[in-house]
Symmetry: C2
Amino acid sequence: MQPVSSVGIVAPQTAYFDAPLTLKSGVVLPHYDLVYETYGALNAARSNAILVCHALSGNHHVAGKYAEDDKNPGWWDNMVGPGKPIDTDRFFVIGLNNLGGCHGSTGPASIDPATGQPFGSRFPLVTVEDWVESQARLADRLGIAQFAAIMGGSLGGMQALHWSIHYPARVRHCLVIASAPKLTAQNIAFNDVARQAILTDPEFHGGDFYARNTRPRRGLRLARMLGHITYLSDDVMGTKFGRVLRSGVFNYGYDVEFEIESYLRYQGDKFAEHFDANTYLLMTKALDYFDPTHHHAQPSLAAALAPATADFLVLSFTSDWRFAPERSREIVKALLDNARRVSYAEITSGHGHDAFLMPDAHYHAVMRAYMERVST
Amino acid sequence: MQPVSSVGIVAPQTAYFDAPLTLKSGVVLPHYDLVYETYGALNAARSNAILVCHALSGNHHVAGKYAEDDKNPGWWDNMVGPGKPIDTDRFFVIGLNNLGGCHGSTGPASIDPATGQPFGSRFPLVTVEDWVESQARLADRLGIAQFAAIMGGSLGGMQALHWSIHYPARVRHCLVIASAPKLTAQNIAFNDVARQAILTDPEFHGGDFYARNTRPRRGLRLARMLGHITYLSDDVMGTKFGRVLRSGVFNYGYDVEFEIESYLRYQGDKFAEHFDANTYLLMTKALDYFDPTHHHAQPSLAAALAPATADFLVLSFTSDWRFAPERSREIVKALLDNARRVSYAEITSGHGHDAFLMPDAHYHAVMRAYMERVST
C-alpha cells in the first residue's frame, strides 16, 4: 500500500441551472441548484474527470473535511484522496447531491420560488434517468465532455449503469459496486414498508410538514432501522451484537434489552433528526423504478445494455443480501453477451451491503488495480 | 394418499384456572382462562394425545370449521383431520390459544377483575416457559399425563422443544418444524422494528388504547407488512409478484404501484383490524427471550437439551430465511450429541417460512410417515 493522505479541507459549490428539465414523470423543473464538491485538478485535456454517484442517503461530500477538527470526513474518504484507490493526484473527482436530495441541491425542503414555501408534497418524483440528465448538465457546465470513469455503490451503481447506456460516448469506464440491474419484489417490499412508515406518520402531513414546524421522526426512524437490517449481514450482526443484553438480564418490558436494539434505535434516532422524509421517499422510489429493460419490448438486460461501450468493473460482496453477488453477475452476464470488456470481483466480506463503504484491503486493492489502468 | 376429510364443525372450550401461575418475570397471574379445541377422541389409556402449539399470530383453531359455510378453516386444517398426516382417527389433538393471546385466553385485552378494565399495559410479559407451564396445567385438567407427541412450527416449535427439556417424561415425540433454538441478532432486529412501529404509534397510548376506543392500526399494519416479508422467500415473491405494476405504468406517486405493495398493504390492513397490538408485542418478546442455553453456565445447546428423552422429528424448508435449515440443523446436532433418536428432513420448498403451513406433498408425506410410527 502506498502512503495515503486526505484531500484536506474542502468546500461545496453550487451550480444554478435555469434551463428547464423535463423529468420522466412529465413534470418540468424550470430551474434548480446542484450542490457538488471536487477533489484534485482537471487536466488540460479535461480527460481525467471521475463522477461519484451517491446512494440512498449519501450526498456530495465524498471526501475531505469541512474544518481541521471535523470528525466526519466525506462518506468515501477511505477510497478517494491522494494516493488512495481513486487517486486525486491523477483524477479530478466530482461528487454531487442529487436532485431531490436534502443536502443543498433542489429538493422537497427547498423553497419553491412560485410560492415562497418549501416544495413539500409538490416536489416531483425523480428517477435515475433524471439524475443522469442533471449530472450531464453539470458535466457540461464544468466542461467535461467525457468522464474517465463514472462509479457508484448501490443506487449509485445504477446511475453509473444508466450513464453507460444513455451517454456511452461520455463514459470510458463504468464501475458498478454492490448494485443490481433492478430491484426484486422483496427489495421493493422493504422499500414500501419504509415508505408506509413515513407516509402514515401523523407528523408527515402529506409531505407538507415544514410549515408546521414538525417532521415525521417516528416514520423516518422506523425506515432507517429497517434499512440498517438490510445493510448489515446476519453474520456481522451476530458477531457485533449477538444476543448480548445491555443489562445482562431480561427486564420483561419494552425498553431496550438487546444490544442490537440499542444500536438500531440509535441509528434511527440520529437519522430522523437530520434527514428529510420526502427525500427518503423519493430516493426509494427511484430505486424501485430503475429497470434498464423497462422500455424494451423484450425484458432482456443484454439488449438494454447493448448501447454501452465503456469498460466495466463490477464488484459485489459475499455477505450482501440486499444486492447479492447474483445480482451483479446478471450485469456481468449481460455485458459479456454484448462482448463488452468486464472485470468482475466478488469480495469476501462479512459486512453485508455496507461493505462498499468499508476500508477492506482486498476491495481497495481491486479498485486501485483497476483505476491504475484507467488512462487520464 | 389416503382419502382425507375434515374434522367438521368444531367449537372452542374454555378452561378456567384459579391456581396462581408465577411467570418467569416474577409476576403472578392469580387466575386465567385458556381457550382450546380438541379433535378426535382420547383413548381409554389416555395415551393418544397430541398438543399443537401455535406460532406468532396463531391460535387454538387448528382444524375444522365453526359453521358449514365457514370459509376459513383452522390454520393447520390441511395437516390435521381424519386420514390426514396428523390423523384424528388415531389421535386426540389439542390446540390452545396461548396466555397473552387475543383469541379468548387471558391476555392484554381481557378484563382485569381487579379494575374492571382491560389489562392493557398491566398485562405481564409471558415466555415460552410460561406457556409450557400453562399448557401442562391444561393437560393435567384433561387427564393427560403424557403426550404421544407435542409439535409446532416456528414459535410453536420452540414450545415443543421446551416441553421436551422441561417435562421429558410427558413427551414421547417432539416435532420441531421451521424453528430455531434461539433468535439471531437479525431476527431480534426485525422484531424490534415491528415493536417500535406499534410502541411509537400515537394510538397505542402506552398499551391502554382500549378505553379510548382506538387501536394502533398504523403500527400493527407496519409490523405485519414487515413480518410478511420475512415469512415469504425472495423467490416466491419474485414468482408471485415480480415487478408487475398494477396499472401497467409508473404513476410517479406514493399510491400502490407494484403488485407486491398491494399484497403487503392488504395483509397489513386485514391484520390490523383484528389482531391485538399488545399480544403482538408480547409474542415477539417471547420469541426474543427463548434460549434454552440462557440459564446454563456454558451456552451449549447440547447441554441444554440433555434432559430431553423424546424421539424427535426436525423439519426445515430450503427457502426459509427467517429460520433457515442451518438453524434446524443446530437442534439436530445438539440432539445427536446427546445420542437421541432424531429424524431430520429439509423440505425443498419455495414458500419460505410460511411453507410449514402449506400443503406440500413431500412435507405431508414425511409428517404422515413419522406419525404412522407414533404409537397410541
